[in-house]
Symmetry: C2
Subunit: 422 residues, 2 copies
């Protein structure tokens, strides 16, 4: 096995034909595997079934206030339970409904209509506003921007987080840049955890817009796969230290801890900022589903139990990640036609093909019965400028399915690459 670029054309052709034949055989087997989204598997969902029983007619006691209206910022017990995920005080957190994406969306929609805490003008009243989008990134963040005509500026993800030289330069000079999307731990899809230096620079950088905001989507805060996981620096603390306490909104949820459809989402920020959000929220709702918050409080009891629970997730996820990495290594290995990340947690492995191959690989895999995340999904406007990134989401299928799907993916990559080189 040698680098494809160094193969002579007859060896390339031979490899091409062999792989093509293998794929034809697979196509006939009517595979149907879906690796497109970061959904927990049934096995993972089973870990939390006890949550469904933690509040019932018999044990509700005199907790009738959770059944009724009120407490727009969530029940105090839930604040106590979840604050440690983000490393904040109970006064710096607000407990919402079942989706952190919803809270992010709502903060942006209200920013457009009314502005954020330090806005002089609602964002929607400005001629143009822009967000920095580290790429590759999370498609649903970008969808919000696209839907609301917020121009997206791509900045490359480097080894330790977004290219901060570029970010600093952009925000220092452009008053229309109002925000940046960050998935700071086990970034989607690269699995990169921002270094302390990157966190510090984000917290202290000079921004032309006075109401610049960091959307810190810490979706994988506790989703470690290794014994000694990376530790993410607390950005709220850093922002306070640098005199920008209201710069960051931190988000987390139990979507990938308990149930994606029925979890609890949280937002954390400075006390002042949380008060501001709470006031805005009071216009919108009389309160979140507090019963589901109580379910989580009773099911977990304390933060240590949440971490123990996450180890069980890791036991299910780790073999799938390992399988992906092992197969990529053994099947693509020294061909030199793809690179990939080896995350220590989160939900994704990010693979780059040779330039100009990703969309063809993805459609070829679909023909062979393997659905991958759409080409370009991890980029603003769905356009990967180098057409090379493929997001691998191994959580939902079984281990055997993951193995099969990655074998197919490798064949597709070899086929498209040999074709390109011939």
């Amino acid at each position: 096995m040698s680098e494809l670029k160094q193969m002579d054309s007859s060896s390339l052709q031979h490899l091409h034909n062999k792989v093509k034949e293998e794929l034809e055989t697979i196509k006939k087997s009517n595979l149907s595997l879906n690796m497109s989204r970061g959904k927990p598997s049934a096995e993972q969902l089973k870990l939390s079934l006890g949550l469904l029983n933690s509040v019932n007619a018999e044990n509700i006691g005199d907790n009738f206030s959770v059944l009724n209206y009120g407490l727009v910022d969530g029940i105090p017990e839930a604040k106590t339970l979840f604050k440690d995920i983000l490393g904040v005080d109970t006064e710096e957190i607000l407990i919402g409904g079942n989706a952190s994406l919803n809270i992010m969306h709502d903060i942006i929609s209200k920013a457009l209509i009314k502005g954020v805490i330090d806005s002089e003008t609602p964002w929607g009243k400005e001629d143009k506003i822009k967000f920095i989008c580290p790429v590759p990134g999370y498609d649903r963040h970008f969808t919000i921007c696209e839907a609301y005509d917020i121009e997206m500026i791509s900045v490359d993800m480097l080894e330790n987080g977004p290219d901060m030289d570029k970010v600093e330069e952009l925000v220092r000079n452009d008053t229309s840049i109002k925000g940046i999307w960050c998935v700071p731990k086990y970034s989607n899809p690269d699995g990169i955890t921002y270094s302390d230096d990157v966190v510090e620079r984000l917290a202290k950088m000079e921004t032309q817009a006075k109401d610049f905001k960091i959307f810190w989507d810490n979706a994988y805060a506790i989703h470690d796969l290794t014994e000694n996981p990376p530790v993410l620096k607390n950005i709220l603390e850093a922002c306070k230290k640098h005199g920008n306490p209201n710069r960051v909104f931190m988000f987390a949820s139990t979507s990938k801890v308990t149930f994606p459809g029925s979890g609890v989402a949280v937002v954390a920020a400075s006390k002042e900022n949380i008060q501001f959000i709470k006031t805005q929220l009071s216009v919108q709702t009389i309160g979140p589903d507090k019963v589901n918050q109580l379910r989580h409080v009773r099911f977990f009891k304390n933060y240590d139990n949440i971490l123990e629970h996450m180890k069980k997730h890791a036991e299910i996820m780790k073999p799938k990640f390992d399988a992906v990495l092992n197969i990529l290594h053994s099947k693509l290995g020294a061909y030199g036609i793809a690179t990939w990340t080896e995350p220590q947690g989160g939900y994704f492995i990010s693979l780059n093909t040779m330039d100009g191959c990703a969309s063809e690989v993805i459609s070829l895999a679909a023909e062979a019965g393997v659905t991958l995340t759409g080409a370009g999904a991890a980029f603003p406007y769905g356009k990967d400028p180098r057409d090379r990134n493929i997001r691998i989401a191994p959580s939902f299928p079984t281990l055997a399915e993951v193995e099969k799907a990655i074998e197919v993916l490798c064949l597709c990559i070899i086929l498209v690459s040999t074709n390109k080189l011939l």
Copy 2:
């Protein structure tokens, strides 16, 4: 007992002194009664405790899809269950989270940013937009408008709904009027159900704004207290008939059927409009809490059971309404200083004092330990132009507390009225 206005001043003074003394005694008794919000009582909440048990670890079966991401418009079984509350087809309904207020808010916030289905311009990009607010009305509707700088135009509620001559004239001539708030059955606070004629006129009226919308908050659709409740005409059908299928958004929820904090909210509209909302919603969330939807489906099974369940609510609510009405009648009776509605359902009784008395009555009651909805709350910007309306919300306190609170209220009304007349 005769009309106060016809009493001579010494009789008035005598009554005034007597009532003042009674109130002083009550003040010393340290009452603490809250009739400020339309919250169900603990007794009502108990009716739905079985809901908490309807989905558990043992009976979830292979319903794992409800635990996971997806189904942004709700589970099909919930559509089937709830469609009859609003009299629509399954394709005309979308099942959301725990608060219909939240859905109303979101439709308006998106209308401001992006427009509604037939907008040429986002509402927020227009110089000014206005909503018609039948008064007295629901304070939380008005709060949304006030928060988002939507000018409110008050139109009086008449016996059969809003003053339609006025409404028709306004919408025909003012392109900036984009909507009207309606609580069409047992209106908050008057308890009025819109007549067929009012519904028809709303559906067919000519509007200058092409993207005019009716926000039909049918919060009390099935909250009847009498054997032969009024029947509200189906406004979606009427809108279709008159060629305005996309004019209306209908809302309902189980907030006052099961749990206010943990119910299920729905929005209904034309199929086309629901598709539009669904597309907008997909930007905001990956899906609502489907487990709670499944709980409701399993708890009720069918629409008839929901109606049976509502009879149990009526058994608890009716004596409180009767108590309020009986005490108002016996204590204020022929004094001619107040009028009130006698709703056949819903959550409120609306009382009008003589002009200029309501805020004083409400603060006097507060001093005596009875918290009522704030003066002016039922009017845009919190200002009752005649300072006469008091919303009575008898659901939350016990029957004995309701009786005591209304007795205090009557004393306060007599005191303030005699004072005014002396």
